[in-house]
Amino acid sequence: MISISPYSILTKLFNSLATKNEFIEVVEILWLAIPTLYKVFSKDPDNAAFFASKGINCLNELKIIDEKITLLRIKLHLFLIGAAISAQANLKSLQQTINSESDLIESYQPEISDSKLLQLIKFEVLFSRVLLEKRSEEDLNSESNEGLTRILFMLTNHCEKVLKGITCEFETAKLNVWIWEIKLQLDLVSDLSFKQKLDESIITFQKYKTLKLEIRAHICLAKLYLK
């Protein structure tokens, strides 16, 4: 007869839990990194979305209940939004993608307990919606003051409010650059408060080595100085 000691049961349970964690950690890195690499290197723009969808399907089939897995699902849905924007999809399909992915993201949100993460997810979805609004303005060839004012309102009243009370320097930096770009277009620069905000944004972009956004902030700053 084989005797099973409580120690061996505990060891096995510990090993199982350790393996579960390890598996989740591997998957959460791998299934976001692979679509990203296809987005960067693949000649076919659909490849990135294909691998993100494949990751979502695998997660649905595996049925692992864990907050990290839910967060990965949300990230993959956000990735699909980003991929549709990068692929310069037409306005109608972009609208459909953003709407359907946002609905799915919303359905997963109750599974996330961290309030900061929830606010950041909400910000990313709202930010995408602002871009959609901007694209529809561009497609209408209007970019009228009315449209820009609406976009500015969304940025300051929706996005900025979501970020209040949480530390998120990068998101704030992105938001500031976009706000000041629109203020510049609308000729709403009445004080020098932009200087400090844009300087902070530039420092943040330098810290995270995001060259394109840093250049964008410098251009905005230069234009504002020339006003």
Partner: protein, 200 residues
Amino acid sequence: MLSTLLQSQNESTNLPKSPLDREISSPDTPSSKPRSNKLRTRTHFSNSTFRPGHYFWLEIMNPREELIFRPVEIVRTVLYENIYPELVRAEFEKLKSMAGIAVAFLDNVKAIHAYLEKMIENSAICKYGLWRYESDFYQKISKRSKHIISFNDPSQPTQTVKDLQSAFERHDSNFRSCYNLALLQRMIGGEGSNDFNFPL
């Protein structure tokens, strides 16, 4: 064992010489790499037991100055038909390695600005807020990421976009194989995979 098997197979079947061997005697070939480097790589491969070609259960290819080993399709089919615990364990190790390679690619891409982040990026390129990883596994693989991709020439760690692109293309089938659902299901609790059988 592999080298012995291949050596004996080479001797018995009298396989043609590798294209790399033939390449050595052409000194006028224009090249962007220093001659000393190229000679060193060539000498390395000409001294190697492995020869590119199609073998019984293995394909050895040399698309550039390197050898790529790949099991033939039928071997993969047979292997994955009956998933043994050892295979599940090996596949999990492969996933970990692929995660390390993927992170190394991303770090290199970011370091040389081969890809510039957009206002709405939403990908693993992002390292802030929602997109930041804090797991121990990530810290571990991130630390050694710089050394993973520079396998072509260890003396030259700096990669160009072209280097990264060709390295990525070589790993294409490896990345595609990271979504084998049957294997993943076995990893998280299928029969015969006791080491990976964790309660959900």
